[in-house]
């Protein structure tokens, strides 16, 4: 049986570690759910963000679902609806032959010009009324939104046989926009042709333009320079301030000397004008120093092991070995002295406690002297294997850290027990 007080801390630590693992497991599982769902066939949810790959003549409007279709759009909508219905009728005649047509999908412009063009024919369950959304699979270049005002949620699904951008010869510029605010003629339930899977068509996805703009302002290298972006009125005039985070970083490094000097001056003034006693160690600083000395200890120990186990071949090596050992001895002495000083200072003036383990400043820089970089850099990996190895190693190191911590707790508690029993024996 372990003494009660010793075990309590150990058990508390173990429980803490268990909780941390459980939380992380939970998050991992949720993340896994999301990833698995992404890799399965995507269910139609109502809106789909297809974007045409950047083309000079394409107007990259970004009508959010809230945009009301203009009268011209509605007119074209009608046009297209009729054309699509006709196309569906034609297609059904074709599919009755039992073939699955793998022809390239309809060009959007061709709806108007050639209703007879064969379109991709996803399998249609029998008995579906005309005017299916499915029959009018536009190319992936179209953005489909549901118009909430109509109170219906037509689902537009991308065709199973979409190819990369088919030549859009007779494509009128506006139908692209018009189809965006498409609302299909009243029809039956939405079609479910071949579903969209990331595996097959992931490379065709495009991010919405507004998002691209905001993200490029934020972070990524300015790739939007060549694209004229025009947004819906609610988003205001576009301004391109590329890489704001990067600007911030560069500003950090070339900080104005004046401002820095002014700050130091202000801090000094604060100190002199204040009644507080000499700044004493905060718990964070104590911890940092202790960490450094611990690291020193382990590094020294490793080195000592190495030196002691090395077998010098000649007198020069032997000399060097001797010098190293003596040097190490001096360093150990120094560390010990620092440690004793630290303990004395801590005992005399209890360090200021921290509400959290570390104050925000230290936590961001992780106790290191490195300048925090604000914009996230890239971590490049080249294969699944590599990523898995990396993640596994990271986890292993974290687990080792936890194990070491637990061992330390155990050791401390044991020593505490020993001290107490020694004290008891003395009395």
């Amino acid at each position: 049986m372990l003494p009660a007080d010793c075990s309590r801390r150990l058990v508390a630590e173990l429980q803490g570690a268990l909780d941390a693992c459980a939380q992380r497991q939970l998050q991992l599982e949720q993340s896994l759910r999301v990833c698995r769902r992404l890799l399965q066939a995507w269910e139609p949810t109502g809106t789909w963000a297809w974007e045409p790959p950047p083309e000079p003549e394409t107007n990259e409007e970004d009508p959010l679902p809230a945009c009301i279709p203009s009268p011209q759009d509605l007119k074209e909508l009608e046009f297209l609806t009729q054309a699509l219905e006709k196309a569906v009728r034609v297609r059904r005649r074709i599919t009755k032959a039992g073939e699955r047509n793998k022809a390239p999908s309809l060009k959007s412009g061709s709806f108007v010009t050639s209703p007879g063009t064969t379109a991709s024919t996803p399998p249609q369950p029998p008995g579906q009324a005309g005017g299916h959304a499915s029959g009018t699979r536009p190319t992936k270049g179209l953005r489909q939104t549901t118009v909430p005002a109509k109170g219906r949620s037509e689902r537009w699904l991308p065709s199973g046989q979409d190819r990369t951008r088919v030549g859009i010869g007779a494509r009128a510029p506006r139908p692209g926009a018009g189809l965006r605010n498409q609302h299909m003629a009243p029809s039956a339930a939405p079609q479910a042709p071949e579903a969209f899977t990331l595996k097959e068509k992931g490379h065709l996805l495009r991010l919405p333009a507004a998002f691209r703009k905001a993200a490029s302002q934020n972070l990524s290298p300015s790739s939007s320079a060549g694209i004229t972006v025009s947004l819906c009125g609610s988003w205001g005039a576009p301004r391109v301030h590329p890489r704001l985070w990067v600007q911030l970083s560069s500003m950090q490094t070339s900080d104005s000397m004046d401002a820095a000097a002014a700050k130091t001056q202000f801090l000094q003034n604060m100190q002199t004008a204040s009644g507080g006693s000499q700044p004493r160690f905060s718990a964070a600083e104590v911890e940092a120093e202790a960490r450094r000395l611990r690291k020193a200890c382990s590094l020294l120990r490793l080195r000592v092991r190495k030196e002691l186990s090395a077998a010098p071949v000649d007198w020069m090596q032997e000399y060097r070995c001797l010098l190293t050992l003596e040097g190490l001895q001096a360093m150990v002495g120094q560390c010990l002295q620092r440690l004793q000083e630290l303990r004395a200072a801590v005992a005399e003036q209890p360090p200021l406690p921290c509400p959290v383990g570390r104050p925000p400043k230290a936590s961001l820089s992780c106790g290191g002297g490195a300048e925090p970089t604000w914009s996230p850099q890239l971590l490049v990996y080249s294969s699944t294997q590599e990523l898995q190895t990396l993640a596994a190693l990271k986890l292993r190191v974290a687990v080792l850290d936890q194990q070491i911590h637990l061992e330390k707790v155990l050791l401390e508690e044991e020593m505490g027990v020993q001290q107490r029993s020694a004290a008891l024996r003395r009395t």
Binding site: L2, S7, E13, L14, G16, C21, Q23, Q25, L28, S31, L32, C35, W42, G46, G202, H203, L205, L207, Q217, N218, H241, M251, D258, A262, T264, L267, N269, M270, G275, S277, A288, R292, L299, L300, R301, V304, M316, R320, L325, G327, V332, Q349, P350, V356, G357, R358, W374, Q377, L378, L379, V380, Y381, S382, L387, A391, L393, V397, L400, K408, L411
Partner: protein, 492 residues
């Protein structure tokens, strides 16, 4: 607002004070209006509560969320005081301020400026609530397995604990580690697939493929198919959202912040929370799956704040000059007798046991070294007497000395500079590239793997050593303490 024109001699970065303060208030989350700053200079009471709240936001490690605002002002004030005290804030007047927000705005203004002068506060706050668009992984090991939030309520063990219980807990922990490993492997595989399949469609050429957040946004722009329960972070560390810098494992008893967390009932983890966040920055810290609209709004807000921060950096010189005048209007404080502040609600462990451990280790090491060095010195002297003396002898000796000094100096730098400059901090966005090509500032997975392996080896050595020490202590205990029977756990 008094307009002070800094003379052109001050440099190209001169600006007016109102501009600087306006930029500052825009750059801080829900920052107070510039008027508050002016009132605070004159110690007007109506500026006090706004400043308390701002300080609380700055100092609190919790993510901003609607729940935080519901904490009573006096609680906030108390927390601010203790946080500032722990950072070594010099002014005593702050500790004596009443907590109801009735006075003391000038002191609070000074406190805010103190924090601003010590560190890049607006940037840090921005980084805390940054919208991570990519799949991220942090490189440094700080808080890798730190505990989030409060520990689940456990029955406090009273009385002696059966060692088998400890063993059982240990086994459970090992099992959970294994589970984590396998889940994480799967997660990596899926992530890699997603990156592979979406290759070629990102507008940003350097990225090349979508991240899970982006793909999810495309799949479900309305966010209608949200996973029930907490949002899923696409951070491979998955240990914590930004801003939740909780205690490292082993802080033992709950800290005040943990209790606060309980009070707030884990804001941001409810599915409905992100739908209409009062502060999208807060929601994003916890749930990274947004409907498109919300994500865009958050991004835009972040961009605006970034611009404000940049403007602040350009004009802050004026602000510091002004703050000097504010400080001047305060009477200098009389040095008070050093006393421990009494408003702390808890007694934290300051790790004296930790230091004790290190002392012991170093002492044993010192002993060992002393013996070994003495022995070798004697042997060497004996040998050296036998060899001849000559000029080249002393030259070689000097050369050896210098080499050794250099080596030892390098060794010392290893722990003096906590981590080498090569060790980057913070999250990195994962990017998959077949050729593995990376820019200057980018990290390569292969290099990281190397670093981690050496770290692993180091830690394993340390663990083994500690385990040996533990066994020794146990042996000593078993001999020293009568009546103690220790059954060592199997396989340890």
């Amino acid at each position: 607002m008094r307009r002070r024109r800094v003379d052109p001699a001050a440099g190209a970065r001169a600006g007016t004070l109102p501009e600087a303060i306006a930029a500052l208030s825009r750059s801080l989350p829900s920052g107070p209006s510039p008027e508050i700053f002016r009132r605070a200079k004159f110690d007007r009471p109506d500026a006090t509560s706004a400043l308390w709240q701002l300080l609380f936001r700055v100092l609190s490690p919790l993510p901003a969320g609607s729940a935080l605002a519901s904490i009573a002002l006096d609680v906030q004030a108390r927390l601010v005081k203790s946080a500032l005290c722990s950072q070594g804030y010099p002014r005593l007047a702050l500790a004596q301020l009443p907590e109801d927000g009735s006075q003391g705005s000038r002191e609070l203004l000074l406190a805010l400026s103190w924090l601003l002068a010590r560190g890049p506060v607006p940037e840090q706050m921005l980084a805390r609530t940054r919208v991570p668009l990519g799949d991220e992984m942090t490189v440094c090991q700080c808080e890798a397995l730190a505990s989030l939030g409060p520990p689940a309520p456990h029955v406090e063990t009273e009385g002696p604990v059966d060692v088998r219980h400890v063993q059982w807990l240990m086994g459970k922990l090992r099992f959970r580690w294994r589970q984590l490993v396998s889940s994480q492997q799967e997660q990596c595989a899926l992530l890699s697939k997603i990156h592979l399949y979406t290759h070629g469609c990102h507008s940003d050429q350097s990225l090349g493929h979508l991240s899970v957040t982006e793909a999810e946004m495309l799949r479900d722009p309305e966010g209608g198919q949200q996973v029930s329960g907490a949002g899923a972070a696409q951070n491979l560390d998955l240990a914590y959202p930004k801003g939740l810098h909780f205690c490292t494992p082993g802080m033992g008893p709950r800290t005040f912040w943990n209790d606060l967390w309980l009070v707030c009932e884990q804001p941001g983890l409810l599915p409905g929370d992100w739908a209409a966040p009062l502060d999208p920055g807060g929601a994003s810290a916890c749930s990274l799956l947004f409907p498109l609209r919300v994500l865009l709004r958050t991004l835009e807000q972040e961009n605006r704040r970034l611009e404000a921060v940049l403007a602040w950096r350009r004009t802050e010189l004026v602000f510091w000059r002004w703050m000097d005048t504010v400080l001047g209007t305060c009477a200098p404080e009389a040095p008070a007798a050093a006393s421990q502040p009494t408003f702390l609600p808890w007694v934290p462990e300051c790790g004296d046991g930790e230091l004790e451990l290190v002392v012991r280790e170093l002492q044993t090491l010192e002993e060992e070294l002393r013996e070994a060095a003495e022995r070798r010195r004697v042997a060497w002297e004996a040998k050296a007497r036998g060899c001849g003396r000559g000029p080249e002898w002393s030259a070689t000796r000097r050369a050896s000395r210098e080499t050794v000094e250099k080596e030892l100096g390098a060794l010392q730098r290893c722990w003096e500079q906590d981590s080498g400059p090569a060790q980057a901090h913070g999250p990195h966005r994962l990017v998959r590239r077949e050729d593995g090509a990376a820019g200057d500032r980018d990290l390569r997975a292969a290099e990281l793997i190397r670093t981690l392996r050496s770290q692993e080896a180091c830690l394993e050595a340390m663990l083994r050593q500690l385990q040996g020490q533990c066994r020794q202590e146990l042996a000593r205990l078993a001999g020293a303490v009568p009546g103690l029977i220790w059954i060592p756990p199997p396989g340890r």
